[in-house]
Amino acid sequence: MLLAQVLLNGVLLGALYGLMALGMALVWGVLNIVNLAHGALIMLGGYVVYYCYTLLGIDPLLALPVAMASMFATGYLLQRFLLNLIVRGALLNTLLITFGLDVVITYLGQVVFTADFRTINPSYSGANFMLLGLTVPVLRLIAFGIALLLSSALWFLLNKSGLGRAIRATAQNLVAARLYGVDPRQVYAVTFGIGAALAGAAGGLYGMISHLTPYIGSSLTAKSFVIAILGGLANPFKVILGGIVVGVAESLAALYIGPTYTDVVSFLLLVVILVVRPAHALRAA
């Protein structure tokens, strides 16, 4: 029973992890940018939802689209006017510039939002129900559902729409995409915007389930990083699955080895997969 409960917790939380990584994987796969500011974007999204809820009284779940829209705009502008300028540089340079962005966003976050911690605490935040003897927290279940919903939406967008074709063409061959009349600057900016929008949704849910401070970004970046690798960069569902694998692995590690080892286990998992099956990881790139 304990094991079943722990597994359930791991799966529900893992899907949210997956949602966090989704935007990072998209940007990485298409633009070849490992966005170290991804966690900072998640943080911003969380605060958008927080202020929608506390200042405007919008239900946090209904505020998620607001967060997604505003983060889309933020991401679009960032890529269009800053990151597009260095996108053909070395990988290390894109790492560094997004790290610099992370520092800047975090600092501005501290000025605007203050260092105080916040939570998004709607009336149903602690609700739960029993199912087959297991306690199911409603909010985490909702987050799980939204993660699946958004990954499906992303899958359809990438595979069934004109925009998706343009994105995939750009990811594969920049020159060819240009020949087909796609403006890569536009496609890159839109793609980064979508990545940021997904981060915004993840941030809102994270604020409801956990807490917000301007400093949560870097640890969420690290987690997204691991999951993006595990899940590969191509298929949104695999990213969610990667998140669930990490969530379950962490939960099991906490149960059987001890909660201090959760980070170690997820990173060991990563290293083992990288070393044992490099082809899996490399194919995704």
Binding site: L85, G89, L92, N93, G100, D102, Y107, L268, A285
Partner: protein
């Protein structure tokens, strides 16, 4: 290397060696910190700059160096230099064990795998009683900042001389070939694995000694500060800011960035972090190859900056 550069470098080292006699205590503190950071950036440069393997795991070697020294001194009452050697030994062994599997990975995958290392090592050390577990270890207090300064300076000089030798040697040529194209290097007879591991071991050696000096100087070691992943980010930024894969780039980069950060922290205290971030963003935009490349550029400043943007934008 040109003779005039060599003379200039030797002169500055000699002048730096006399700093403890003229500098204030604050300056000295700042200088020790900067020299140690420069050593870390320079060590990172061996594998990261020359062989193109971007490691985020060098802080593991730093941590092992600090713990080697701390365990030897705090737990066994051994002298400082024995501690340094113990730390270096631990780091080198770790580099050998970890290097073989991990150096098979390329590009971002190598970077990520190394990123995990410091977390793993931190967690392991937090559970070892001999290392003081989570509580950390306290080293004897020494009022000898000039000694720490000279040690740090000496270490930086040795590391830089080693890198300078590297840049002119067969070993360095192998690393550069690996950076430029690893497969081609292999078919041209470069034993890529051996050189990569050797580079990692060399980096781990210098990094761990820097850690050992820092441990004794600061007199306290705990897992969070010893295996701090942001330290590694700083190494990379400083090396790249100065110019990775060059002999003096990482040193100049560390000196400049440390000074900028320190001045910002003093003058406009609260906005220092913000400006630091902005400096990084601007540096990557306008001089992605670092100060070293800027210094060698033929065209006037603004044209150099614009050329870089033009080359890398979409």
């Amino acid at each position: 290397m040109q003779r005039s550069v060599l003379v200039l470098v030797i002169m500055s080292v000699i002048m730096l060696a006399f700093l403890p006699w003229i500098a204030s205590d604050v300056m000295l503190q700042f200088a020790i910190n900067t020299l140690l950071l420069a050593t870390l950036a320079q060590s990172w440069n061996i594998l990261g700059g020359f062989a193109g393997y971007v490691s985020f795991g060098n802080s593991v070697f730093y941590g092992l160096g600090t713990y080697g020294t701390a365990i030897a001194m705090a737990q066994f009452g051994l002298p400082f230099w024995v501690g340094l050697m113990l730390g270096a030994l631990l780091a080198v062994i770790c580099a050998l064990i970890v290097g073989l599997p991990i150096l098979r990975l390329r590009g971002p995958y190598f970077a990520i795998a190394t990123l995990g290392l410091s977390g793993v090592m931190g967690a392991i050390v937090s559970n070892m009683d001999i290392a003081g577990a989570n509580i950390g270890l306290i080293l004897p207090l020494t009022r000898a900042d000039p000694m720490f300064y000279e040690l740090s300076l000496g270490l930086l000089v040795v590391t830089t001389v080693c890198v300078a030798w590297l840049s002119m040697s067969r070993f360095g040529m192998a690393l550069i070939a690996i950076r430029e194209d690893e497969d081609a290097a292999g078919t041209m007879g470069v034993n890529t694995t051996r050189y990569k591991v050797a580079a990692l071991v060399l980096a781990s050696l210098f990094t761990s000694i820097a850690g050992g000096i820092h441990a004794y100087w600061i007199t306290f070691v705990d897992p969070a500060s010893a295996f701090d992943p942001t330290l590694n980010v700083r190494m990379v930024i400083m090396a790249v800011f100065g110019g990775s894969g060059t002999v003096f780039g990482p040193v100049i980069g560390s000196f400049l960035l440390s000074t900028i950060y320190e001045l910002l922290a003093f003058w406009i205290s609260t906005a220092a972090a913000l400006l630091f971030g902005v400096v990084i963003v601007l540096a990557v935009l306008f001089m992605p190859k670092g100060i070293a490349d800027l210094a060698l550029a033929k065209e006037p400043g603004w044209r150099y900056f614009l050329r870089n943007v033009r080359e890398h934008r979409l």
